[in-house]
Symmetry: D2
Subunit: 341 residues, 4 copies
């Protein structure tokens, strides 16, 4: 049975594998200083309309997060994040392990707003407290929701007003930018944040996240942080090859669009079956609430999915994730197997 | 012209690429909990004669080093290492970034001995000093030298006597175990150390190091450290697939043997040309001392190699590295182009 | 005008100053290994009914907290604390600076309960999250409330059940143990926690907190942590002298009782004046809610106190702290100057 | 018998104790924001001829070192220090615990020179290595030697040339500035360093080091670092009172001069007795080499002193320290009891 557990269950899109195979025994210099990385970085700068951006490649998202955040902050400075944020919940304290507090704030939908940011700021006003200095958001969020251009612009203004960095975790940026209702572009994201990354792991690459540093303050010596944290891939060219292939002709966005389309089909089916989805996600993560016996039934049938949290004694919120690799037939089969309310 | 700069200039051995391609769209669970990683781990336990070892896969060597060392130590405990050790020189203070001092001791050949270890211990005797607790060695060393079974056994005995962990960085373990003069086996390494790793990055993998934890004290919660340090690959199965392919029929050692043979041919040629090699390496790194104009000549011809350090005003120690991918023709060409003394 | 800002506004109780003066030019060995510290430690063990406890002296509370917590935890392990906890709010991320996350949980009264602890535990169940391992409580809490013996016993049971350490911040332990309604004794605190400290700074000492380690797992090498964190006072004997003087005949508890009595008088007066105190504190910190013009009036008169937080547009929660040094006349004067509702 | 073990064996100079006693029940605000600290800081700025310096008070030397160094460095940046430096040897890895490597360089006399600094720099040239960024020196050094104005000026020039901070550990600055042969003044030290501290603990205070920040880059948010590291004394005014008393009329330097004079008398006596002192210290630490039976004899007599290191099978280098409190009679008695060669 198909697994809807996550969007990184398969090796990579065939074109990515092919591009790697073509490099074969070609010799490249190490540590991301090769021509593939340079070309991929140039392509990213071009797609972002950001000719002076610095681009670095990391292997995974936790790495990308801790590199940017730790690199941006002095040791007493802290992160403002939604309490559902990946850096707050699902990274085993990776940010704290670099010395920084995450000031988590509850949200209804995984999205920060200027009001929530200012709520944190108002509680931190002296040297007896950490100094919040960086706002971490993710697009898509951990709940599958997305930011509009107006929302991101408002956060940018709030950050400017208070001297905060704005960092966007783009592990699923492809799905965000191709979602129905999205009005953000890659140049918008670049213009409105101090740093962000374009996620490859969850969108067709073997692995890899492309970190884009927009704010000049964050650029100096970033490679020292990468190496110090064990995040400098010896064969860095593997990252350059993959991102160039994904981005050179829009494959990256085609793959994300497919994941969203499969999710849209699944969402409609689930709603038609009569299950509620309290958080309305337009992207590739869906969080329906189903009776516990439905959970058991799907498990017995062999479907892969995550149990997110118990809702009450009889109901559970589960998570389905679609991806670039999800065949429409798998969605249809799941919908056939899913009991109706 | 061929690059002798390092042993990680090419993507991966064709069989590794093929194994990855075969996995294609097969779905696997994430984070190294898949069957490929289980099979690779089982294979490693078997090859090591260590049925109770814990095996974890990391993407790179700096990661592997900091995971094992930080995981083993309390915050005031320190590492004893040769001053040439990778963790002391070439990891941008990665160990210190996790809070631990590296007590570096000069050596003639990159190898620690019980006497050198005890020299460090004798200088640390109270709570005003760090407490040395882990001996870090590498085989091959950063100078290409190797440990004999007698030497490793003596270190083990020294560590036992003083309550120290013995950790072996095996980034180039393949070359060590297939070198002329080597009398260590994989089961010996497993039996004589508390932890070590089998390096894939420098021996035919796209990337990857297989960490083997022998001492039960080091095993609990190791996956928490992996995740916390951003070292848990989402598609962990990529590591399992590669190591299984490299180890299932001896390919790993064949590749290392080839690298050593190419180095042996190059070494003999360099000596025949009349250049000294003060450190006598039986493995795939060679450190000849040549006149500065020879350095310039080779650079003009487009050869890749590293300048290690200036020896005097007129001479430079350079480094040539051969690999599993080095063709014999490249060695012969270099020797033809290398001026004689 | 008198300052009710905190309980560490004066040098020290005259008997403490006298004891220090008497030591004068007497020579003592450094770093807390002297006879004064030994005698004070012995006295503490005796008062706690804990002959095998380890006792260490720190200069201040943030130090004591980070020493115990960091010493107890592996790097991926986390603290469970009330969201009002000193370690969560008022130590500038000192715990995070040692690498550990503080999992903060909202409470009505600053006190943790087994249910709140288990709420945090239930959200942490894999290597993708930190591992909560130590419960931090304070008695008195940051809101002036205290734990009963039944409550502390319940927490102990909860910690035992889940393999958690229980650490009690006793910066104001004197006031807790002498409060009306308290039924805990020093031996109770020792028996029910894994570690705690007896606060001197806020109860008549120049400075100093006596850390009592009950759990054998926390004892080894604690002095290494002290030194590494810059917390080992060269003239450690200053701490031994003070604690012996405070504890040898009950002065410590007499001072705390006085602080509580002054607070009780002030509390009754404030209530009589008609101001609410939403958190009912039986100890030396009071949190009345007053109109903003009363705040301004008291400031104009020169009284010292803290503004805790705005309650609404017209009202503010302020904090008054009494101490061992507060004269009854100061309380009476404040009550005379405080307008009635 | 008298202890020559260190210069912090007694409480404090009577005038310091008296000044503290006078403050008695006077109320002061906390955390070093009181008038005593302001007056002491103003006095220090005046004595240093540095009206724009920032002055902060720490309780001890390890604290002062880690605050300044960690505050000055990004996480991949490192310290250059003599291998005998206190931060390298005697602080239990306190600097590494804040994440930074100490690049230690052997010296004959505990003093760094531009050549030694540049030797370290030349070995660090890429993102694979730490970036040395701060030169740590101590005056007096850990061997009792001192810097001349020419030497300190040369280091300043070297640091300027290479973009390095120069930080001077002045735990024994009093003895340095009053030593025979010294030509440095407090304004010189202030003008030639980026930061330094004036040690109180070893020169008549109960405790305390006055940190002077000269370079504007090091000033912002320093109080956040102090609090985060548990180094902000609640009753900060205790530090201000002590430093004002020590510095207001030269008492600080009188005390240091006395320590040096007692050492000079002892040095001459030791040399007259025929014992060598390989390192020639003009200050209050002496390192004679004596036969092992002399060590035993002095121990039997009850003298306090430190065994520094064994020189050969029969000889030991020991350390005598004099202080502001050492009576001349104690020196004479020691010399009477010390056997002649």
């Amino acid at each position: 049975m198909y697994s809807f557990t996550n969007d990184y269950s398969e090796t990579a899109h065939p074109r990515v594998l092919q591009a790697l195979a073509e490099a074969g025994l070609e010799q490249n210099c190490g540590y991301g200083l090769d021509r593939h990385c340079q070309e991929a970085a140039e392509l990213i700068r071009s797609l972002c309309g950001a000719p002076t951006a610095d681009v670095h490649f990391a292997v995974g998202g936790t790495q990308a997060n801790l590199l940017v955040i730790h690199g941006a902050l002095r040791s007493f400075e802290a992160v403002i994040a939604a309490s559902t944020a990946h850096v707050n919940v699902h990274e085993t304290g990776a940010i704290e392990a670099t010395g920084h507090k995450v000031c988590a704030v509850p949200t209804p939908d995984g999205k920060l707003t200027p009001a929530l940011v200012e709520q944190v700021l108002s509680a931190h006003h002296s040297e007896h407290m950490v100094a919040p200095r960086l706002v971490y958001i993710s697009d898509t969020t951990e709940l599958g929701t997305i930011y509009t251009k107006a929302e991101l612009t408002a956060l940018r203004r709030c950050c400017d007003e208070h001297g905060l960095y704005l960092f966007l975790d783009g592990a699923r940026l492809g799905c965000a930018l191709t979602a129905p209702g999205n009005d953000l572009t890659l140049p918008d994201v670049a213009a409105l944040t101090d740093a962000f990354y374009i996620g490859g792991t969850k969108n067709g690459a073997l692995f890899g996240e492309a970190i884009v540093l927009m704010n000049d303050d964050l650029k100096p010596c970033f490679r020292w942080y990468i190496k110090q944290r064990g995040a400098m891939l010896a064969k860095g060219f593997l990252l350059g090859i993959q991102f160039r292939e994904l981005l050179r002709d829009g494959l990256y966005f085609d793959l994300a669009r497919h994941a969203n389309e499969m999710a849209a089909r699944l969402r409609q089916g689930i709603l038609d079956h009569g299950y509620p989805m309290p958080v309305d996600s337009p992207t590739n993560q869906l969080f329906p609430v189903v009776p516990n016996d439905v959970v058991r039934r799907l498990e017995e049938l062999g479907y892969g999915f995550e149990v997110d949290h118990p809702v009450d004694a009889d109901h559970t919120c589960i998570r389905f994730v679609t991806s670039w690799a999800t065949p429409e037939s798998a969605v249809e089969e799941l919908l056939r197997d899913l009991p109706k309310v």
